[in-house]
C-alpha cells in the first residue's frame, strides 16, 4: 500500500509542478515570476547565498540565545492556546473529493490513510520552511543556514503535528458533548492560572528588570541575563521548556550542538506523532469525517458545485437595505456582498471582533478614568489599527472577486459590462473598510485630543491627523482593494480563492510570497499620491498652519489616488470583458 501512496504523492507533486511550469508559458505569469524571483533574490536570496558560504551573522543573531528561545516559546504557546480555543479550519487531514471517493472505499485502514496524509503534508511544510529560512535565516541563524533550515523544519513539522493532535482532541471533546464556550473558558482559565503563577513566582524571586545601563551591548546582555533568570524560575521554566527545547536546534551554532539539541527536539516531534497516531480509532474516524466535511465545505465554496453545507452555518438575517427592482445594477452587487459580509462570510467577523473589543475598551476607559496615559495608549492603538487596516483589511475582508470568482460563469452571463461588474463587486469591501477606518480614526481623535495639552497647537493635532486620514482612507482602501482583485484576476492560479484564507503551517510560504508581492505593488501605487501630498503640504504650510495644510494637502493626494483607482477600473474592466474562464479558472479549479 505504501507503494501506491508514494506513487500518488509523487505523481501529484510532479504533475502539479509541471502544470505550474506550463503556466509560465503565459507571458503574464512569466513576467511576474521573473519579477518575484528577482525581488526575492534581492532581499533574501543574495544574503542567503552569501551567508551560506561565509556564515555571516544577521541582525537579530546578536541577541542572547535565551531571548530568542523565550520569544519563540511565547509564540508557540500563544498559537497552542489559540488552537485550543479555535482550531484552524483546514488540517493536514483534509481529504479531497477524489481521495474520499477512491481511498475511503478502498481496502485501506484508516490509520494508514492518516499516516499517509501526515507524510504528504510535509511537502507543504518543507516549502514553508524554505521560504521562512530564506527570509528569517539571515537575521536569526546563529550558525550555518542549513542547520537553521533543518531546525526550522523540526519546529514546523512538530507544530503541524501538534495542531493536528489538538484538532483530533477537540473532535473527541465535541463527541463527548463539550461545547465551545466551556472549552474556551477552561483553556483561558488554565492559561491565566499558569501564566499568572509563573509571573508572580518570577516577580517575587527575580525582581525588577535592569535599568540605567549605558551602551546597547551592555543593556542587551543585562536584559538577556534578566530574562534567563525569569525563564529559569520555577513554573516559568516548566512552561517555557518545551518551546525552548523545540527551537534550540534552529539556533545551534555548530553541527555538534545541532545534533545534541536536535535529538531532544526530534523526541518532541516523535511524541507528537505518537500522540496523533495513538488518538484511537474512534478519533481517527472522527478526524476523517471532520476532514471530509471540511472538503465538502471547500467544494461548496468553490461555486456551489460541491456537496454538503455552506462554509459556516449561515442564518438568513435581514438584508442591509431594501433593493429596488430597477436602478444601477452595481448596487445589486453591493447589496449581495454586504449580505455576505453581514452573514459572516468573507472575514467581517474577525474584523468586527477586533474593532468591537477596541471600542469597548475605549468606552470603559472614557468612563472610568481621567485623561491620561491609558487614553494615549488606546488612542495610539486606534491610530495604528486604522493604518494597519489599510494594508491588511483588503486581505482579511474577502467579499469581492475572491468570493465570487468561482461564480464567474454566472456573473459573465449577466448583462453587465466588465467595468460595472468590477465597480459593483469592489463597492462592498471599500465601504465596510472605510467605515471601520473612520470609526478608528474617530477613536484616535477623541482619545488623543482629550489628553494632549489643551490650548497647545497639538490640541487640534489628533483631530487634524484623523481628518487627513479620513480623507485619504476612501481612495487608499479603493486602491488596496483594487490591487488585491487585480492580482486575483490577472494571476488567479497564485491567489487562494473562496471567502476564507487558507490556514496552516504548510500554506505559510505561499502566503508570504503573495502578500509581499501585493504590498510591493501597493507601495508603488502610493508613490504619486505621496509626492503630490508632499508638494501640496509644502506649498500650503507656507501660508497656513498644519491644522489646515494637512487636510487640504490630502485632497489632491486623494484625487490622485482616486484617479489611479479609476484608471485601474477602466483597464481591469476591459480585461474582465475579455476574461476567459476556461483559460484562467478551469485549471485552477481542477488543481485546487
Amino acid at each position: 500500500m505504501t507503494g501506491a501512496f508514494l506513487f500518488l504523492t509523487l505523481r501529484t507533486f510532479k504533475n502539479r509542478l509541471l502544470s505550474q511550469i506550463r503556466r509560465l508559458k503565459r507571458p503574464r505569469y512569466l513576467f511576474f515570476a521573473i519579477v518575484g524571483v528577482a525581488y526575492f533574490y534581492g532581499v533574501a536570496g543574495r544574503h542567503w547565498m552569501a551567508g551560506a558560504r561565509i556564515a555571516s551573522r544577521g541582525d537579530l543573531s546578536i541577541l542572547p540565545p535565551v531571548l530568542a528561545e523565550v520569544a519563540a516559546s511565547f509564540l508557540i504557546m500563544g498559537s497552542i492556546v489559540v488552537a485550543w480555543c479555535n482550531a484552524p479550519p483546514i488540517s493536514p487531514l483534509a481529504f479531497t473529493q477524489a481521495e474520499i471517493q477512491h481511498l475511503f472505499t478502498a481496502p485501506i485502514t484508516r490509520r494508514a490513510l492518516i499516516r499517509w496524509k501526515l507524510m504528504k503534508g510535509q511537502v507543504g511544510v518543507l516549502f514553508s520552511v524554505s521560504i521562512f529560512t530564506l527570509f528569517a535565516g539571515p537575521h536569526l541563524a546563529r550558525g550555518d543556514r542549513l542547520l537553521f533550515f533543518a531546525g526550522a523544519w523540526i519546529v514546523f513539522a512538530t507544530m503541524q503535528l501538534h495542531m493536528t493532535g489538538i484538532r483530533l482532541a477537540l473532535h473527541g471533546m465535541k463527541q463527548r458533548g463539550t461545547g465551545w464556550g466551556r472549552r474556551v473558558a477552561v483553556t483561558l482559565a488554565v492559561t491565566v492560572a499558569a501564566v499568572g503563577t509563573a509571573a508572580l513566582w518570577a516577580s517575587s524571586r527575580v525582581g525588577a528588570p535592569p535599568t540605567g545601563l549605558a551602551g546597547k551591548g551592555e543593556a542587551l546582555a543585562a536584559f538577556g541575563r534578566y530574562v534567563e533568570a525569569l525563564a529559569a524560575s520555577g513554573p516559568a521554566w516548566i512552561l517555557l521548556l518545551p518551546g525552548r527545547l523545540l527551537v534550540r536546534p534552529a539556533l545551534a551554532t555548530s553541527l555538534t550542538r545541532f545534533l545534541l539539541d536536535g535529538a531532544t527536539a526530534a523526541g518532541l516531534l516523535a511524541l507528537n506523532y505518537l500522540w496523533v497516531m495513538g488518538s484511537g480509532v474512534a478519533l481517527e474516524e472522527g478526524a476523517i469525517e471532520g476532514a471530509r466535511r471540511i472538503e465538502e465545505t471547500r467544494a461548496a465554496r468553490s461555486g456551489g458545485r460541491g456537496i454538503g453545507r455552506s462554509p459556516r452555518r449561515l442564518r438568513a438575517t435581514r438584508p442591509p437595505f431594501s433593493l429596488a427592482p430597477v436602478g444601477r445594477p452595481e448596487i445589486a452587487l453591493l447589496w449581495k456582498n454586504l449580505i455576505a459580509a453581514f452573514r459572516n462570510v468573507g472575514g467581517l467577523r474577525p474584523l468586527v471582533w477586533i474593532i468591537g473589543l477596541n471600542f469597548a475598551l475605549i468606552l470603559v476607559i472614557l468612563r472610568v478614568s481621567r485623561p491620561g496615559t491609558a487614553h494615549v495608549v488606546i488612542g495610539a492603538i486606534c491610530g495604528m489599527l486604522a493604518g494597519m487596516l489599510l494594508i491588511v483589511g483588503p486581505s482579511i475582508l474577502r467579499i469581492d472577486f475572491r468570493q465570487d470568482l468561482p461564480h464567474m460563469d454566472t456573473l459573465r452571463s449577466y448583462p453587465l459590462a466588465g467595468r460595472s461588474l468590477l465597480v459593483g463587486t469592489l463597492l462592498a469591501p471599500i465601504l465596510v473598510l472605510t467605515a471601520i477606518e473612520w470609526m478608528l480614526l474617530s477613536g484616535f481623535a477623541i482619545l488623543m485630543g482629550g489628553v494632549i495639552g489643551e490650548g497647545t497647537s497639538w490640541s487640534t493635532g489628533p483631530a487634524v491627523l484623523a481628518l487627513t486620514g479620513a480623507i485619504l482612507a476612501i481612495p487608499m482602501t479603493g486602491v488596496a482593494t483594487l490591487i488585491h482583485n487585480a492580482g486575483l484576476l490577472l494571476l488567479p492560479a497564485w491567489v487562494s480563492l473562496g471567502p476564507s484564507r487558507s490556514w496552516g503551517v504548510e500554506r505559510m510560504g505561499q502566503g508570504i510570497f503573495t502578500t509581499i508581492g501585493l504590498l510591493l505593488v501597493m507601495a508603488l501605487s502610493l508613490i504619486p499620491a505621496a509626492l503630490i501630498f508632499g508638494v501640496s503640504w509644502f506649498l500650503c504650510s507656507a501660508f497656513t498652519g498644519n491644522s489646515i495644510a494637512l487636510p487640504v494637502s490630502a485632497l489632491p493626494a486623494a484625487a490622485a489616488l482616486a484617479g489611479e483607482c479609476w484608471l485601474g477600473v477602466v483597464l481591469l474592466g476591459a480585461y474582465l470583458d475579455r476574461f476567459d474562464p476556461s483559460k484562467e479558472l478551469d485549471s485552477v479549479t481542477q488543481a485546487g
Binding site: 465554496r301 455552506s310 449561515l314 438568513a316 433593493l323 445594477p329 452571463s413 449577466y414 474562464p581 476556461s582
Partner: protein
Amino acid sequence: MLQVEGLTRQYGGVTAVSDLTFEVQPGEILGLVGPNGAGKTTSLRCIAGILPPNAGRIVICGYDLKEEPVEAKRRMAFMADEPRLFDYLTVAEHLQFVGRIYQVPDAAQRADSLLEELELSDRRQALPGELSRGMKQKLAIACGLLHDPRLILFDEPLTGLDPVGIRRMKDSISRRAASGASIIVSSHLLHLVEELCHRILVIQNGLKVAHGTLDEIKAAAPQLEAAASLEDVFLHVTSKTEPRA
C-alpha cells in the same frame, strides 16, 4: 432570434467547436446532442457570453454578442447543468438580486409566480445549503426565467429533478416556446430531445454532423428505417464521423 455563424472555439491546441453555423427561430426548440466531449457545453457557454469564441459571430435578437454584449445578454438566459448559487443569499434574495441585474420592474410579482410554479413558495427564506439538489436546480431555473428571456439555453435541464419536476419542466419549456421564445436544449436524454424539440443539431468533435428536423435527418440517411428513433439516428450519424485529429 439566434444566429450562430462560423463559431470556433479552441482550448490551447484543441479545437472544441469548429465553424459551427445554425439559427434558432422564435418559438423554436432546438435539441443540441452529441457524444461526451463533442463541444455542446462549450457552444452553449460561447453563446451565453461566458467564453469568448476564437472566431465566428453570434447574434441574439439582432444584437451582436461581441459588439453589444450587454443588450444581447439582457435577452438571454443560460441554465447550466450544475446550479450555481450564492451560498449566502436566500431563495427570495436570489430572485431580488437577479431582478435588479436584469432591471425587471415587476420582479416581485414574477418571482412569486415562478416560485409557485416551481413549488418553492414555502422555501423563500431558505439558503442554498438548506435545499436539495433538485430544489437548487429549480431555483437556478427560476432565476433564469425571471426576466422573461427571448433566448433560453438549457444544459441538461432535467438533472436532479424528480418525475413531477421533469414533467413541469418539459411543460414549461414547451410553454415558453409557444410564447415565442427561442430555446436550445442540450441533453443526453434523447427521448426528451425527440419529444420536445422541433429541430435537432448533432455535433461531434466540434463539428456539425447533422442538422434539421428528425425526418429531414432521416431522409438524408437512406440506410435508416422510416421508424428510426432519434437514438438510431444519433448512433448512425456519430458512428460515421472520423475522430478528431
